[in-house]
Symmetry: C2
DNA sequence: AGCTTAAGTTCCTTAAGGGAACTCTGCCTG
DNA sequence: CAGGCAGAGTTCCCTTAAGGAACTTAAGCT
């Protein structure tokens, strides 16, 4: 299939896709976050091909999103989120927010998120890191940054 | 390749991936958001195969993320974000935030975002829609929701 | 009448996903 | 201590999707 290499584009979206853009990768990350940390658990939960799961886990480890660590004297391993990986979960939370709103239908959200700070079932909202006001697609101007190509 | 159908899983992440999880789709969305709204523009900007671009655009239109509208009496069309699509751009902004932090390297961010409300170059931050406090991976408990499978 | 341009189609090659069977390693049980 | 078992992958074959170049179609322009 000779997939185009997104990682070398001067675009943080393309680079992020290079890390978790392959099919299944976000779901593998979700599983690890949700506590399915072992190969067999993830494979059984997702129904993913073992070959593809191996490839995805290796790639996520190479990218520093997951850490592979032994949990037994036998050759047994579990995968845990690194700090880099934990921050990627933000992306999943936004996907959940959008999916719950636009795709869940009458049945409602499959999973609810209870916020520790307030104890309420809630969802994420995007705010400006600088002023704290809402920050969405229409609230910003795009400017070339220091890492822009040419 | 007989890709697994994510859309029918009881998971908002999987369902969202069914809409924009295919290769190139987020970049197509980015281009439309950035003002590349025509087939030739997107194709030239991304270097994507025309065949794949056709498939992606059709899929995004079917999913209600983009609208295909004529802009001339000749058969000429442009693609514009629907409300559903505009809200998906939130996802791109979070990808940008993560990519800028973890993947941009010394060169820095390729694109900067200036927030209208405060006029500052900034980035997005995830907050609880209920209480306004930060809401990240470690700040929530997961509970089964009404749309949970079984 | 022929050229140009935007927006796709078609066709072929190559590589990636699906899925089942197989391997390898070390503990556990009789 | 032989055999079984379980976790974590590998290997192999088949099908399908991505790349890429060439071709098509439908106005409008010269």
């Amino acid at each position: 299939m000779q997939r185009t290499n997104f990682g070398e584009m001067a675009c943080s979206i393309a680079r992020t896709l290079d890390v978790i853009g392959e099919p299944w990768s976000p779901l593998v990350l979700r599983d690890v976050y949700a506590g399915f940390t072992r190969f067999e658990q993830i494979q059984a939960d997702l129904g993913i091909s073992r070959k593809v799961l191996t490839e995805r886990l290796n790639h996520l480890v190479e990218q520093g999103v997951l850490e592979r660590r032994p949990y037994d004297r036998r050759p047994r391993f579990e995968y845990v989120l690194t700090e880099k990986g934990t921050e990627l979960v933000d992306l999943l939370m936004v996907m959940v927010g959008w999916g719950d709103k636009w795709l869940a239908g009458q049945a409602g959200a499959p999973v609810l998120y209870r916020h520790h700070a307030c104890g309420q079932v809630s969802s994420v909202d995007l705010r400006c890191a600088h002023c704290g006001e809402p920050m969405h697609a229409g609230d910003v101007d795009l400017l070339p940054g220091p890492g822009a190509a040419i």
